[in-house]
């Protein structure tokens, strides 16, 4: 048994290094002065990874690209999308899994198709719609189009369909209404799926770049990826600050995951029909 544990940690560690090493280089570069960042990058030695000089200059100057504002904006937008999105998409996924209604299959196919179209194909009609609704340069424009998501609906549908029918029927026999069943039984039982659905929406907004640029380009509504990109212009690239902005963005985005992932094992193990 001991051997299996050791083997597991060895495997975990090897994968950890492969996945994290590039990011480690990026994080380390963010505390290096500009002249040092590429000085050793073309070698593979300890000097590549261990900085000789440290500086927090790249973090101190983040306000020059409106970074803190962008972070606040993105946390708000991503958070709102996450909360609204989980509710709305879980409800729809529940309906597809649990109810039976006319054109169900067709509508579900449309739901899936809605998520398969390349975004560049729909950006112009979407922009025109948002403009006609007077929503350009608003949080609404950033949040609303991203709340309903075909794949998140699919995700919840898959899960809810996997719960035994007896679950639902027993609850109905007890006189529970569907909203109650959804809210008090189905959702709590599906914490892992709620978490992953929430992460899906959160990450989608955290990475958002093109749509915010088109729909809410005003500096007040800048999101974090656009702020990071401000370090690059045609003429010069502020590498150090690009890396510091990126480092912070990554570390902050991992926080929801760290918080949520302990819910993973709450699953169905206690399940069964009470």
């Amino acid at each position: 048994m001991k051997g299996a544990v050791v083997a597991r940690y060895v495997a975990l560690s090897v994968i950890l290094v492969l996945l994290v090493a590039p990011l480690a280089w990026l994080f380390i570069s963010s505390v290096r002065p500009a002249s040092e960042i590429f000085r050793w990058s073309h070698e593979f030695g300890w000097r590549t990874f261990v900085p000789a000089e440290l500086t927090l200059q790249n973090y101190a100057t983040l306000h020059e690209i409106g970074y803190w504002r962008a972070l606040r904006n993105t946390i708000f937008v991503a958070g709102a999308t996450m909360v609204l999105g989980v509710l709305v998409n879980a409800a729809a996924g529940f309906a597809f899994a649990v109810f039976r209604f006319r054109f169900q299959r067709t509508i579900f196919v449309l739901v899936l198709l809605s998520a398969m179209m390349p975004f560049e194909g729909i950006v112009i009609p979407l922009y025109t719609l948002v403009r006609a609704l007077g929503l350009v340069d608003t949080y609404t424009a950033l949040i609303l189009p991203e709340v309903a998501s075909g794949f998140v609906i699919f995700l919840f549908r898959q899960f809810f369909a996997g719960l035994p029918r007896e679950f639902y029927e027993a609850a109905r026999v007890d006189g529970a209404t569907w909203p109650v069943i959804f809210w008090r039984i189905a959702i709590p039982l599906s914490w892992p799926v709620v978490v992953t659905g929430a992460m899906m929406l959160f990450i989608m907004q955290w990475e958002a770049f093109f749509w915010p640029l088109v729909a809410a380009p005003s500096p007040d509504y800048t999101l974090v990826q656009i702020a990071i990109a401000r370090n690059r212009s045609m003429e010069e690239t502020a590498w150090g600050r690009m890396f510091s902005a990126t480092t912070l963005a990554c570390l902050i985005a991992i926080v929801p995951f760290l918080v949520f992932q302990r819910f993973y094992l709450r699953g169905l193990t206690a399940g069964g029909i009470k």
Binding site: P22, S41, F44, A97, V98, S114, M116, A161, G267
Partner: protein, 307 residues
């Protein structure tokens, strides 16, 4: 624990639990999401599909082309080359990513000291946007500026071109996309694995099943639905993969990374032919839908849940 057999085979035919509910109730559950999808996705998609039947004069007036855009695309050998590259790319990357994600999920499933940190670390590459991922790897893999080639040279091998080598470019794209994405797909499979009751594993262990047998007979059948989700969602994401191509290789070298989505983007924003670009997007949509249908069929639920 009771056995529940619901629906006959095939996810499409099995419309779930299928219990009765009033129309108003169904509408309540469906309406917010469907309204959002209709307004912000389906209507724009419909407009785009119609748009693929038109062209535009320089002044912005629409010109009816009927299937002209499609004829032009399907008659262009470069487009067929792009289709081949895209299919090859997806044939390789989708199973690869799902397998790796599944492996990672199995590895981080059971609680252990510090396992939460490993999970978070595996997920960390996903927090880097695809544009930044491309930029970072461009630096790291660069022959002149990056450490990876330095390591390769130290180990005694010749320096590699990676993104700029015709034979390696597509594989390099697959690797960096997987570096970024596997941790992401892992969390969905992790959720699915976590939902499998421990009692089932216990029962199997008591029956003398080996780890491999438990994987095959307990885990995999119950992972059909999550795997179906990950495979379809990943396929859809990979078919519209193009940012690193746009930033780094422009479809080259020599067409090695000539993905359809890059072509659609280039046709719209470089060549200014929106009708033709929409036709390309339509083709991509049709291919993804077809492949998704096949994938869902392959992973269809056979209706049983072990007890």
């Amino acid at each position: 624990m009771t056995v529940a057999a619901h629906g006959r085979g095939g996810w499409l035919r099995d419309s779930g639990i299928g219990t009765q509910a009033g129309t108003l109730m169904i509408a309540l559950f469906l309406a917010p999401a469907l309204l959002g999808l209709v307004a912000f996705r389906l209507v724009p998609i419909a407009i785009a599909l119609v748009g693929s039947l038109f062209g535009e004069t320089l002044a912005g007036d629409l010109v009816w082309r009927g299937l002209g855009n499609f004829e032009r695309l399907l008659g262009d050998p470069n487009v067929w080359h792009s289709v081949r590259v895209t299919l090859l790319f997806n044939l390789l990357i989708n199973p690869l990513q799902v397998l790796i994600a599944f492996g990672l999920a199995l590895l981080v499933l059971r609680p252990a000291p510090g396992i939460g940190l490993f999970r978070a670390a595996f997920f960390l590459p996903m927090t880097l946007s695809i544009g930044l991922t491309a930029m970072l790897w461009d630096i790291l893999l660069n022959q002149h500026v990056g450490p990876v080639n330095a390591l390769i040279a130290q180990l005694g091998f010749a320096r590699q071109g990676f993104f700029h080598d015709e034979n390696q470019a597509l594989a390099t794209m697959i690797v960096i996309a997987s570096w970024k994405g596997c941790g992401y797909w892992m969390i969905f499979l992790l959720a699915g694995l976590a939902a499998i009751p421990e009692e089932l594993h216990e029962a199997a262990r008591i029956d003398g099943a080996s780890a491999w047998q438990r994987l095959r007979y307990v885990t995999l059948p119950l992972m059909r639905r999550p795997l179906a989700f990950v495979l379809v969602a990943d396929t859809a994401a990979n078919f519209v993969f193009f940012a690193p191509v746009f930033i780094l290789t422009s479809g080259g070298p020599n067409g090695a990374t000539d993905l359809l989505m890059f072509r659609a983007y280039e046709t719209a924003f470089t060549f200014g032919d929106w009708g033709r670009s929409l036709a390309l997007s339509t083709i991509i949509l049709l291919i993804v839908a077809a492949i998704a249908a096949v994938e869902l069929r392959l992973l269809r639920d056979d209706g049983t849940q072990a007890g």
